[in-house]
């Protein structure tokens, strides 16, 4: 469990990046910080592994103030994955993954064996182990970054827009991989993104932030979608523009048992199964051309087939 207690960060140049932030991040859950650029997400994340020290307030991990021990030891106990993988360009993939275990004195053979297993875990071919990072694609580099983050078997994994620089298809892949990993490994994940769809996909707890890391709303994706706490949240999640409110389109001819859904602006958002013309979960009296149901959907993945 990670707890922020009235944490404020003012940078030397006077920028107030985080103002009086308090929050509990539950163990073994994924908490996503989401907000527009410059709202303080990275600053929040980097205060957890003491890459940035708060100006005031405190952060506790499992009840222990992180400021009490050594920063290096803390960082070695926490996985960190960043946008541009941050791999060491002069080391082969396997040595990158094994970096921290080697620093901690694990024997080279053991560290390498474990690194190889981690490549499997993140879905990378072992044949890539002896390449240099520059010989990998962006998506592969990110996977190596995740493998390195997992190498010390940390309880906490910090991820700062890890999939921000890869194309949508690879991002989709990596997101699914992370969901699977999280299902298997049960880490406390803190994930930063400015993509609300990614936040809703990955987050058990989603924290929508405004400038200065002011919490606009905290909750599960469902809670936030169902009850946006403010106009800001509604606009941020796209609810005000009708993007999330989907309706059955009656003008498009049906093929088989699928019915086409459109969003508020009339754009095709996806299809929904409706065996025999009846929407699932709906009463027998509801026909497919009613506008009664709204369905949350990942808008940017509409049309993925």
């Amino acid at each position: 469990m990670i707890e922020f207690h009235s944490v404020t960060k003012r940078f030397p140049d006077g920028t107030l990046a985080v103002e009086d932030f308090s929050l509990v991040l539950p163990s073994r859950k994924t908490t996503v910080f989401v907000g527009s650029s410059g709202c303080g997400k990275t600053t929040l994340l980097r205060m957890i592994n003491r890459m940035i020290d708060p100006s005031s307030g405190s952060i506790e991990i499992d009840g222990v103030d992180i400021a009490s021990g050594s920063a290096v030891a803390l960082r070695r106990s926490i996985g960190y994955v960043m946008q541009n993988s941050g791999l060491l360009p002069h080391r082969r993939v396997i040595d990158n993954v094994a970096t921290v275990p080697l620093l901690k004195g694990v024997k080279k053979v053991d560290a390498h064996t474990q690194a190889m297993e981690l490549l499997d875990t993140v879905g990378l071919d072992r044949a890539l182990a002896y390449r240099y990072p520059s010989q990998l694609s962006g998506g592969q580099q990110q996977r190596v970054g995740v493998a390195r983050g997992l190498a010390v078997n940390p309880n906490i994994l910090l991820m700062d827009e890890p999939f921000g620089a890869v194309d949508p298809i690879v991002r989709d892949d990596l997101q699914q991989e992370l969901l699977r990993l999280q299902h298997d490994l049960d880490k406390t994940v803190v994930f930063v993104t400015h993509d609300i769809d990614e936040a809703f996909l990955l987050g058990d707890q989603v924290v929508i932030l405004e400038k200065g890391a002011q919490i606009a709303q905290v909750g599960t994706p469902k809670e936030i979608l169902a009850n946006p706490a403010s106009d800001f949240v509604a606009s941020f999640i796209g609810a005000d523009r009708g993007k999330r409110r989907l309706a059955v389109d009656s003008t498009v001819s049906r093929s088989g048992d699928d019915v086409v859904l459109v969003d508020g602006a009339g754009y095709v958002a996806g299809v929904i199964e409706a065996p025999g013309g009846v929407l699932p979960g709906a009463g027998a009296g509801v026909s497919t051309n009613s506008r009664a149901r709204s369905v949350s959907n990942k808008t940017d993945q509409a049309g993925d087939a």
């Binding site: 890459m51 360009p89 921290v100 520059s134 962006g138």
Partner: protein, 247 residues
Amino acid sequence: MNLFLDALNFMFDPANLTGANGILSRLVDHLWYTGLSMAVAVVIGIPLGLLVGHTGRGRNAVVAVSSAARALPTLGLIFLIILYTGLGVGPLIVVLVILAVPPLLAGAYSGLEAVNRSTIDAARAIGMTEWQILFKVEMPLAMPLIFGGIRSATLQVIATATIAGYVGLTGLGRFLIEGLALRDYKLALAGAILVIALALCVDTILALAQRLVIPHGVARGLTRHPDESAAPTPRQHGRVSPAPSNL
């Protein structure tokens, strides 16, 4: 052209090779001055340059002192020192060290400055200590520029060690100076050729050594992420090839 042939004849005459004033003995002296000065200069220049590059502090002071040192007239300086200390190897070494330190410093700090900030940040974030960052990340990645500094300092020292001949010492410069004094131009030319040949040989050896010292991933010019090529970092030598596309 005749003069040139005469010079070559002199160089390849076995009689001139050995003996107290022979080519070999003066070559050894020349190498000794060079090696000693470079050893002292490396001990001073590289750690200082690394310190400046790692912390980013004191850069302006170092640049100012370096360019002042580069502007000092070597010959004037050595005579000035000799006035105080008398003849000996000491003044020569002092002068050569003053000459060699600026390129070493510049190589070291510009090498560290050229290392991608986000690589260093990542190294720190995964729990490397500052020393580990310096030795395991910054130095290997900066090696092309650090080594470039060592090479150019060595060349300058080899060339300048010629002045040893002016101050009662030997070395290959002795042929040049004796030749000029005696108006024996073939001797002077032979001295000059020997110094140049020595410089070329040593540089070739250093170039080979460079390949061994510089890590593979770095030799490809990978000191920064391909997608950050928009943000230029200082690069002095053309030795680092552009980052290849990773797509």
